[in-house]
Symmetry: C2
Subunit: 333 residues, 2 copies
């Protein structure tokens, strides 16, 4: 026996913005699970900006997608057949073979989750990669400790909104920046940030100093540039920044010259540390233990944009890169 | 009984470059040491660039010098009378009451040193603040570990030359940059650096990449600006920079815009960490245990510029700020 299913393949390497013709929907027959393997019916798959980089044939820290082969990425699904110890039919699991309706893979590459009271898609967002990025960035990279005042840039984004809420959950004073009055209101009114400002309203440094008159201790950086410069100015002694991404640089055609106050790193004994979430996989158990109950009872909120059907996954990905999403973008299969 | 002695006082706060009239030589009668105190005859005192900052009446992390009062700073001397446990007449000690020929202070503010085979002035240089800066910067701030390739900028300076030599002593590959052909030859021929280049000969990035074709793991930064940018480009994954000073910024009238490649901190998981040596005083015992034997047998070399007489200390300090020294500047009393 085998399982007929469908998958999305990379048909052509995109030049610039991906087009629908760069993708191909293929029907395949999936073999039955072998020894120690499981067959999974995927219920949600993730589309993420980092996937665009893997569509280029360049040397990087993650190998590129192969032409003519199925794409992959985060997915959540239900076990429908199992030869793997500890995994039974009906279990909800998370794994890395997204972009397809069914997957066969070794039990050791599958993580069983307890989805009681939690929407399954959350395991691709708040309890998945974006959540882990926020959690590990705050705790392991920035070394969050009691009493720290926390500043988060890009605070209305998938990662930033979780970084701020996790810090609030732990009792910290949290300041966020975002790029519209609506987002600023969302941070203050819905997510419980203590202070929030629109970086388009004026000098980031002046707005940050006004929002944090006693200085900041931890900065979760999604923006770089003027925001990093402002954080360095606002840091107290021994301030620590977790550098998660630098949106301000992504579309720059010239190298980005900021921050101009690097000298301040010495006198204030400041640490800036870049990180990539894939180094912090061991933290996912802690993330779920601490954050899943807060998701279940509503203390942590998240937004997501849900598209339907594998055949619409390429367009979901294209739209994601154009910023059409609010919160995490997922595809329901 | 009391001890007649001399001290240098701050007569006026310097505007810009200090002048001789900003200082005053005063004769004083020093009281006998009280309970738990010692009387020390100073043999060498240190002049250091950081003292210039303390001559301004501005809020900083170290309190300013007071007008009309004696200056202070690192000194080495000999105990001539003692009421303090563990300190005997004839002991060689290090303390912070420089700028005077004798000092009375509590035994707990005095550190006894074993000067066997080591010139006393070394306790103000290679085994004093500059040495501790190099040692703590490499080990505690940059987290030096086996196999790391180390790049040191300002490598012919008092701190840089020790950072490079301590890394060599521990078996690392060490690359240094300096600002003249003579200094570069000194690094290679006298101090045992594996590679050295003159940053004035061309692009720092190109020269660093040529000197370290397999990348660098640790950067000891005395320069900032283009050197920090070059180090970020040359870093391997998980590279770490100890930010000690940024000479390239000191005389800048405009904020210094480099480095332009901060984005790279994220992908390579790079850490930049500023530090000040006064946070690392607990490391001085380790410094002396590891480095003093290497000073005594010549494996670690250092240069110094020695001026004679307390009355010449202000001019020594003025000349230091003009760069008239080679290696550590001290005054023999």
């Amino acid at each position: 026996m085998s399982t007929p299913t469908r998958e999305i393949r990379l048909a052509a390497r995109p030049h610039g913005e991906p087009k629908p013709t760069d993708f191909e929907l293929a029907e395949v027959e999936l073999p039955d699970p072998g020894e120690d393997q499981v067959l999974i019916r995927n219920t949600f798959m993730s589309v993420d900006p980092y996937m665009r980089g893997r569509m280029n044939d360049v040397k990087s820290y993650t190998p590129p997608f192969q032409l003519g082969a199925a794409l992959d990425g985060g997915a959540v699904g239900e076990v429908v057949a199992s030869n793997a110890e500890g995994l039974a039919v009906g279990d909800v699991v998370v794994h890395q073979l997204g972009w397809r309706e069914h997957a066969v893979l070794a039990g050791k590459h599958v993580r069983k989750v307890d989805a009681d009271g939690i929407p399954e898609s959350a395991f691709l967002g708040v309890l998945g990669m974006p959540g882990l990025t926020a959690y590990a960035g705050l705790l392991d990279v920035a070394g969050l400790k009691d009493g720290d005042v926390v500043f988060v840039s890009g605070a209305a984004g998938a990662v930033g909104s979780l970084a701020g809420q996790i810090a609030k959950l732990r009792g910290h004073t949290v300041i966020g920046s975002a790029g519209s009055a609506e987002k600023v209101a969302h941070l203050r009114d819905d997510l419980g940030f203590d202070q929030a400002f629109n970086y388009k309203d004026g000098s980031v440094t002046e707005q940050l100093v006004a929002a944090a008159p006693d200085g900041i201790d931890v900065y979760f950086d999604n923006v770089g540039g003027d925001h990093l410069e402002a954080a360095i100015d606002a840091f107290n002694l021994h301030g620590r920044a977790a550098l998660c991404g630098m949106i301000s640089n992504y579309n720059a055609t010239e190298p980005n010259p900021a921050p101009r106050n690097m000298m301040t790193l010495v006198g204030k004994r400041i640490t800036l540390r870049g990180f990539i979430v894939t180094d912090h996989g061991a933290r996912v158990k802690d993330l779920i233990a601490e954050v899943a109950p807060a998701v279940a009872d509503g203390r942590i909120q998240f937004r997501e944009t849900v598209r339907e059907g594998l055949e619409n996954a390429p367009q979901a990905f294209i739209d994601l890169l154009r910023g059409a999403n609010t919160g995490k973008m997922v595809v329901k299969l």
